[in-house]
Symmetry: C2
């Protein structure tokens, strides 16, 4: 790793070096590319958070997806994980497994997608590893973020009486291609951390219905979702009846919006402003005793399962 020698079988593909040369930042790094490992800078009062995500061709993107967008997404999903901790992204390690048939120009387009997003967020590339294979394109990104010691927002802190919020609007992400071009909610999360002290937070990757289960389990609380409040994205087909549109918002996944809980005082302020740095925030429910997740529609409560919504009106 961080070791250009690892790509020495295809010396023209010294990709990790090449990516690093496109970036001027060595932000957060004591030592970057070129040694056996990178050294992360220490800064008193901050601690490191880290996450990895693998993207695979044919699963997380189609084989005809523009490669810039594939590269962009591979970093963006990781930045979204960092945001969900309330942390600032700092650096990343890139692991690439490239189909032998892929042209150099295509590989560069893939990398440019990573580079452009890294520049946007001042994320440095600490190193990586490149390989070729007879198989689909695979990209593994490990991201490092920094958060003030002891302030990371976990999934386990939701309290009965807290209000449940989401940023943005939900549903239709895969169909519209939004999953390739979304903006990780890093600034919104930092703003929340500074002014609303969220008690629990995660990023929505599987859909609200599924992801809320993680908060419920780890916090040991239940939730009631108010159906009419769920912000349905314009990407969801307008001609569908409300309940179908709602189901899309709850279960489509890959929204990469923040789902978070705050106490009632912070909730009031957030509801009044309705936005965080220009991104809408919407109260969609509340945290209740127990372990059930329910949805309230037309005055009636129904269980909400990870697979989606158990329709109670049919």
């Amino acid at each position: 790793m961080s070791d250009s020698s690892k790509s020495s079988n295809r010396p023209e593909f010294d990709l990790i070096d090449w990516i690093a040369q496109q970036l001027t930042s060595s932000h957060g790094l004591q030592l970057g590319i070129g040694d056996d490992a990178a050294i992360l800078s220490q800064e008193r009062g901050w601690e490191w958070v880290t996450a990895v995500d693998c993207l695979v061709g044919g699963t997380h993107f189609l084989n005809d997806t523009p490669l810039e967008l594939v590269g962009r997404k591979s970093l963006a999903v990781n930045l979204s994980d960092v945001a969900a901790m309330g942390a600032v992204p700092v650096s990343a390690l890139i692991g690439l497994v490239i189909p032998k048939s892929m042209k150099r120009s295509d590989v560069e387009r893939l990398c440019m997608g990573i580079i452009e997003l890294a520049k946007t967020w001042n994320v440095s590339i600490a190193g990586g590893d490149t390989n070729s294979c007879d198989g689909p394109l695979m990209i593994s990104v490990t991201v490092f973020g920094r958060v003030e010691t002891g302030t990371a927002v976990l999934r386990s802190g939701a309290q009965v009486g807290d209000a449940l919020f989401v940023t943005g609007r939900l549903g239709g992400s895969l169909k519209s291609g939004r999953h390739l071009s979304f903006s990780p909610r890093i600034s919104e999360a930092r703003e929340l951390l500074a002014n609303s002290r969220p008690t629990a937070m995660l990023d929505l990757s599987d859909g609200l219905a599924g992801d809320l289960l993680h908060v419920s389990r780890r916090s040991g609380v239940g939730f009631v979702i108010e159906a009419e409040r769920v912000p349905i994205h314009d990407d969801v087909d307008h001609s569908l009846p409300f309940e179908k549109r709602l189901a899309h918002a709850l279960t489509d996944g890959e929204d990469f919006e923040l789902l978070f809980t705050v106490n009632s005082e912070a909730a009031e302020k957030l509801e009044r402003s309705g936005e965080l740095l220009g991104t809408p925030v919407t109260r969609v429910g509340s945290c209740v005793p127990g372990s059930q997740i329910q949805i309230q529609l037309g005055g009636e409560l129904s269980p909400l399962s990870p697979g989606g919504w158990v329709h109670h009106l049919d």
Copy 2:
């Protein structure tokens, strides 16, 4: 990542959780599996080093390689990178892309290989990501190690007059299968750091002839290798003439031994003892002015290229 939800399409394959349950250690972690990201513990006076390596079926291991050994190797190559910095391995993130045809029992065998080696070195699993694909098995391991602040051994510190050493014996690793079962030289590196203060160090993955070039370039020095001193592994065919055996030792690769430089005082002590914690150490050459890497055989000097040895006697 660290997010069991990522494997929710195959809930029975909650692998990262499962791996973590086999380990009791949460060494070096403020927060482990189960949230959007892991939090690394801070310890005053130490800094973090990190590296990533991807292993791909058909490239780094054959499709009939025992899966325990594949799993073991995926972690071992990363531990070797950490060792080459003089650091202590602490934790790892595991990214798995599993062929859809692979049986659960085979996946568990793969994971047991990772787990057993992690236990040996008290390495905790901080999180990961699992996916399935129509393609070869891919394992991406990100490793975290700790080293006393400012003491990491880089590739860039070799000085003219230093002696060049290797641990163990070289050559024949791929043919014999040693590349699957080698012991990362973590303890030896720590011992060196404590008592010999190496000026430069790396782990041999591409072979001495190729990897030494990295030290040469980054340190801005040349090297002379003394051919008769190169410790040739028993895995290299004994029936071959010396020069062929030497070529194997210099270029086969995947030795995962340490290559390091020390000053003359430390060199004398190391040569006298001839071992580090039971592992042989051998002086194979010295650091000279310039930028060339040469090999001395029978009183004659020839250039040594990364591809190997330019034979001067033919």
